[in-house]
Symmetry: C2
Subunit: 163 residues, 2 copies
């Protein structure tokens, strides 16, 4: 398959209080007091049927305000450089973001998913939503490399990955 055939489109957009990286929570669960919404376009809303039965979803976004990637980066959470694919830095060969968020409510007809805690900028295009299912997704004892020493060093983003 050639790259030309891999075309993506937004199915909606994020509505959040953040319009720049600086000061945005680094991870969705770092600031659960913030509310945000996912606004889903009319043609896709039927696909939300039943989502209110889930507590959490993965939100896959196109991080449109990230600067070009480098393969070795100092992530928000550490002071040392690490391989890009060991980080969740927003500047990536494909700037695809993965956020795990808690659902507060789902309005299928209006296409509004209210969520708790968001690490994504306002107006970011949404590409996909997938259910979080503990049987598939929970592995508490997984080693997490450099992060194990760095955890808690920093809670907010700055502009290091901004356009």
């Amino acid at each position: 398959m050639s790259d030309q055939e891999m075309k993506i489109k937004a199915i909606g957009k994020v509505k959040s209080a953040y319009d720049k990286h600086d000061g945005t929570p680094i991870q969705a669960n770092y600031e659960t007091s913030n509310e945000a919404s996912l606004l889903i376009d009319p043609e896709y809303r039927e696909g939300l049927e039943g989502l209110a039965g889930f507590d959490r979803i993965y939100v896959i976004c196109w991080l449109d305000r990230s600067k070009p990637y480098k393969l070795s980066v100092i992530p928000y959470l550490d002071d040392e450089a690490h391989g890009l694919f060991t980080t969740r830095a927003p500047s990536r060969p494909n700037p695809i973001g993965l956020s795990l968020v808690k659902i507060l409510s789902v309005d299928v007809k209006e296409g509004i998913i209210r969520i708790e805690g968001i690490d994504i900028l306002d107006n970011t295009p949404i590409l996909d939503i997938k259910p979080y299912i503990p049987d598939f997704d929970v592995f508490p004892d997984s080693k997490s490399g450099w992060y194990e020493k760095a955890k808690g060093k920093r809670l907010k983003a700055d502009n290091r990955f901004s356009k």
Copy 2:
């Protein structure tokens, strides 16, 4: 941002024993005896530095052999229809797959990540790799809607979402 600007490219491809959906494990952790590999293109390999310190990664793929989506689907795991975004069915507005897999070894120089258990077809384009970090990703008590009743009904895929 217009859709035209959202261009993606493969950073590598999956090497797995499966070349059709029929018989493929539905989730990566449903068949951990299978080995597979992620082959990363030379220009991106430096980004794998340090990945061997992690147990698990999210692999984001372009599910190139999925047929066009419907918004109400009967997922592999159930006998009833559910909203597409409550399922991980491969036919989606953007056919982006999210697989959580266990790392067996990482060869940065050769660009080979050996993994345990895979639910992805051979030669599937890889778009991104992200580290699994329990502090961000583990929420064991999350409700999971229709899945809670359906779990265990079926372990292998069939061709319902195939081109």
